[in-house]
């Protein structure tokens, strides 16, 4: 399997990343998470993403390996950004490729669900009014991850 894992401050080029997954594939599925402009009725100025260097990359590789063990994938790309991101900017790209669509679609959904609960990233929200708050984990994310 063609595996690409990256944790970076820089943005990613989704078109180029998807094109890189086409070799040997019959279909490519992808998910891009972007920074919301509004959270709970408050205007967001920025999102700060912190991670655990070293562990993060290993955790993402574990997830990709688990997806590859479950679905016949020809490729898997996970790129997660860190640092300070503003509304509309990309946060994360998950893309998988396979011979047939079901495997890629399911593996992509699986990976984004697992990524929310099994990789050491933390988000803090900076609001336009000057306040800030760490994002609390959502029980429904645990439920979604456990459902697989």
């Amino acid at each position: 399997m063609n595996l690409r894992i990256a944790v970076q401050e820089a943005d990613f080029d989704a078109t180029a990343e998807l094109a890189a997954l086409s070799a040997g594939a019959g279909g490519i599925a992808s998910f891009i998470g972007v920074v919301r402009g509004n959270v709970g009725g408050k205007t967001l100025a920025a999102l700060r993403l912190e991670h655990y260097p070293g562990m993060t990359e290993k955790a993402l590789e574990h997830l990709a390996d688990a997806a590859a063990a479950r679905w016949a994938l020809t490729g898997c790309t996970i790129i997660h950004r860190i640092g300070r991101l503003t509304p509309g900017q990309n946060i994360v790209l998950v893309a998988t490729a396979s011979q047939h669509r079901a495997a890629a679609l399911e593996a992509t959904a699986y990976l984004i669900d697992q990524l929310k609960t099994a990789a050491p990233f933390w988000k803090a929200e900076e609001f336009a009014d000057g306040t800030q708050a760490w994002v609390a984990a959502r029980p429904e994310d645990d439920t979604a991850a456990a459902a697989w």
């Binding site: 998470g33 050491p120 988000k123 760490w134 984990a137």
Partner: protein
């Protein structure tokens, strides 16, 4: 042992990592939390609610009650919120 703190736990404790020599009776992450709490009010504040603390031992997620043996690195942090 290298101890790391992330997110609001890092902010409450006031540092991201430190190298500590642990007493021999501290053998689990939960035992380490109890020991750290006694080191200062910043630790007591950070670890006030154990239900909100997760940990990793040598960069693998781990239960708070699992003995860490000869591990080199333990990290404490809130539940993760990536994606």
């Amino acid at each position: 042992m290298q101890i790391l703190y992330f997110a609001w736990l890092r902010e409450k404790i006031g540092l991201g990592e430190e190298l500590l020599i642990l007493p021999p009776n501290v053998t689990t992450p939960r035992g380490l939390i109890t020991w750290l709490r006694a080191r200062g009010t910043n630790y007591a504040a950070g670890f006030a609610n154990e239900a909100l603390i997760r940990c990793a031992v040598d960069q693998e997620f781990c239960a708070l009650d699992a003995p860490f043996g000869a591990a080199a690195e333990i990290a404490f942090f809130p539940p993760v919120t990536g994606g």
